[in-house]
């Protein structure tokens, strides 16, 4: 079922579309260290794709390759069918790829609302002159984008803190604000780097619900890195497993769970 060119249907009946992003034979080196060795996989429209693996497996590096932060030495990234030339991160953002960070990277000096509004920057084009006048073009653009931002704020249930400076928020909320900022860009591909790191069970449940809702309501394609196996297996449609920079498994959660390599390398035989 997986290899059909125009997508597949998931177990819970969602239609998954064609390939949005394809990584072909990616190799990334830092000096003598090979962080990623010849990895190929694809991300399809509308799916939740997880990348898992033990510490140091190269997951975050992989995400950084997708978001344009690292340029791989070998291999090619295809985005929406086109080979993507080496780009600056802000150009990648303008193509509709948004991400969150493993260690929260919010703008601490700004309010929640301003943080979410920065997520809209790729949609705001008014020139300096009109902005200095404010009345007219700039104000209209601001209002139109504010409406979108407020929708996201409603969606993630952070209305009460919209005027609070981010620096004052607790960790769990910060993670949610960061998701809001990424969502505000209305991305076609959303990358989440350990969205549930350091959260308690309740917060994890909330976050999982939000991720599913985002995928469901906005149809956003999501690629995520996560350590909590329970969460990964529940959320994702397909999983890539990495170990020491190599891909050792790729498929539905069930397939991955029964893959001997994965069990050996990651889940561990002795522990069960």
């Amino acid at each position: 079922m997986l290899d059909q060119a125009d997508g597949y249907t998931t177990a819970d009946g969602r239609k998954i579309g064609p390939v949005v992003m394809e990584m072909k034979n990616i190799t990334l080196r830092f000096g003598g260290v090979e962080a990623i060795k010849d990895i190929s996989f694809d991300i399809r429209e509308g799916e939740i794709r997880a990348i898992i693996g033990p510490n140091g497996a190269g997951k975050s590096s992989m995400l950084n390759v997708i978001s344009g932060f690292y340029v791989p030495q070998e291999g090619q990234v295809f985005y929406q069918g086109q080979p993507r030339p080496p780009m600056k991160p802000f150009q990648v953002a303008r193509q509709g790829i948004a991400r969150t960070f493993q260690n929260i990277a919010l703008f601490e000096g700004m309010t929640v609302l301003d943080n979410v509004m920065t997520g809209r920057l790729t949609h705001m084009q008014t020139g300096l002159f009109w902005q200095s006048m404010w009345k007219g073009k700039a104000e209209e653009e601001e209002t139109a984008n504010r409406e979108v931002a407020e929708k996201i704020i409603d969606f993630l249930e952070i209305q009460a803190i919209r005027k609070t400076p981010v620096a004052r928020l607790p960790y769990g909320l910060k993670k949610r604000v960061e998701l809001a900022r990424a969502l505000a860009a209305e991305p076609s591909l959303l990358l989440l780097d350990e969205p549930m790191a350091g959260m308690n069970v309740e917060e994890k449940e909330d976050m999982s619900r939000f991720i599913l809702d985002v995928n469901d309501e906005f149809g956003t394609t999501i690629a995520l890195i996560e350590h909590d196996m329970g969460v990964v297996m529940d959320l994702s449609d397909r999983v890539v497993v990495m170990d020491y920079g190599k891909k050792i498994g790729d498929g539905t959660p069930d397939e991955v769970r029964n893959n001997q390599d994965v069990i050996d390398a990651y889940l561990g035989v002795a522990h069960d």
Partner: protein
């Protein structure tokens, strides 16, 4: 007339994003504007204008400019004096080359030229940050002062090496030179200050401002979100230098009238303006005004108290003044490192809940 937010409901995003969303604030702002425009010009004399209003208004523009760069965009600059000198010399060259053009145009053009120079010296910011950038801008400071000292073309080959503001007018009213009216120079500077503040506020509350603040708070995340660091940083340098250039032009042409570059626009000036925004509050337009007021008015106030009221000798008061201002700066930075603007913000938050804080 108490500061109250209760009972004010904003139903549109436009209302919510205005500069003074709270009615009391808005009226206070209109009141201050009214007094500044309709009352003060009829009451001022030379002493008030030259020792209080002109320096306050002009330094406020410089502080707004520097605040955009340091407070909003996070790029430390020690080149303010040098950029003010660019504004002053640009204004001087324009005044002498085109005597019939209105002073408004000259001052604005001086700002535009400074913006260009500022962008040029902002280029290193694309590679270096923090203290290292501060040192790079320090180089701009020394280079620019040296340039204006050494190249006679800039001071029109005058024998003294100084530049003197010739008599120029706007709409038939003398603005520069020795025969100006106090109210005219005051109103001229006031217009520039008010418009600068409004423009700065408009820029910082919109998408450009968010780009700057994103670069300031976390440049890597900003880039991933779609901020081009090149345009964001250079636009901050350009806008900041534009205001600093205007303030330099006014400082020379309207306030001092004659300038020797090393004396008027030396490194001391850079530090003075930097202190203003640190004391006033980084990343706040109000803070720029507060800081400028603090450092311009405090010395005058101390002098009035010391010499006129207590009758102490002038030299003792002058020295005491330095000691007290210095001590106050330290006290201030320990008590409220985020400046007067933060103090005001905290007060407002307390007042919101007063008198039932729980």
């Amino acid at each position: 007339m108490f500061y109250r937010e209760a009972g004010e409901f904003r139903t549109t995003y436009k209302e919510d994003s205005q500069t003074f969303p709270i009615r009391f604030d808005r009226w206070r702002y209109y009141f201050v504007l009214f007094v500044a425009i309709c009352v003060i010009p009829f009451m001022v004399n030379d002493y008030w204008v030259n020792s209080i209003f002109l320096p306050f208004l002009i330094y406020a523009i410089a502080a707004i400019g520097l605040n955009i760069l340091v407070g909003y965009c996070g790029q430390v600059s020690l080149g303010t004096g040098g950029f003010m000198a660019v504004g002053a010399y640009a204004c001087y060259k324009l005044m002498t080359a085109f005597p019939d053009v209105s002073m408004f145009i000259h001052v604005i053009l001086a700002g535009v030229i400074t913006a260009g120079v500022g962008m040029l010296f902002g280029l290193p910011s694309l590679r270096i940050k923090g203290f290292y950038l501060a040192v790079a801008t320090l180089a701009a400071q020394f280079f620019l002062v040296w340039l204006f000292n050494r190249v006679p073309w800039f001071y029109n080959y005058s024998a003294s090496g100084q530049i003197n503001a010739p008599e120029r007018d706007t709409f038939g009213i003398l603005i520069t030179g020795p025969n100006t009216e106090a109210w005219a120079t005051y109103v001229f500077c006031l217009i520039f200050t008010v418009v600068s503040a409004i423009i700065a506020r408009n820029l910082t509350r919109g998408s450009v401002g968010r780009k700057w603040m994103a670069i300031r708070d976390m440049d890597i995340a900003a880039e991933i979100i779609g901020v081009n660091p090149l345009t964001a940083k250079l636009s901050a340098f350009a806008i900041s230098s534009f205001f600093v250039g205007i303030s330099g032009a006014l400082f020379f042409s309207v306030y001092l009238g004659a300038v020797e570059v090393g004396e008027a626009f030396g490194i001391n000036k850079s530090f003075l303006v930097l202190f203003m925004i640190i004391i006033g509050g980084l990343g706040s337009i109000f803070g720029s005004f507060a800081g400028a007021a603090f450092l311009v008015l405090l010395p005058v106030a101390l002098k009035v108290v010391g010499v006129d009221w207590l009758g102490w000798p002038t030299d003792i008061v002058a020295h005491l003044q330095l000691v007290i201002v210095g001590a106050l700066i330290i006290v201030f930075l320990i008590a409220e490192p985020h400046g007067i603007a933060q103090l005001w913000r905290v007060t407002k938050e307390k007042l919101r809940l007063w008198p039932f804080p729980h």
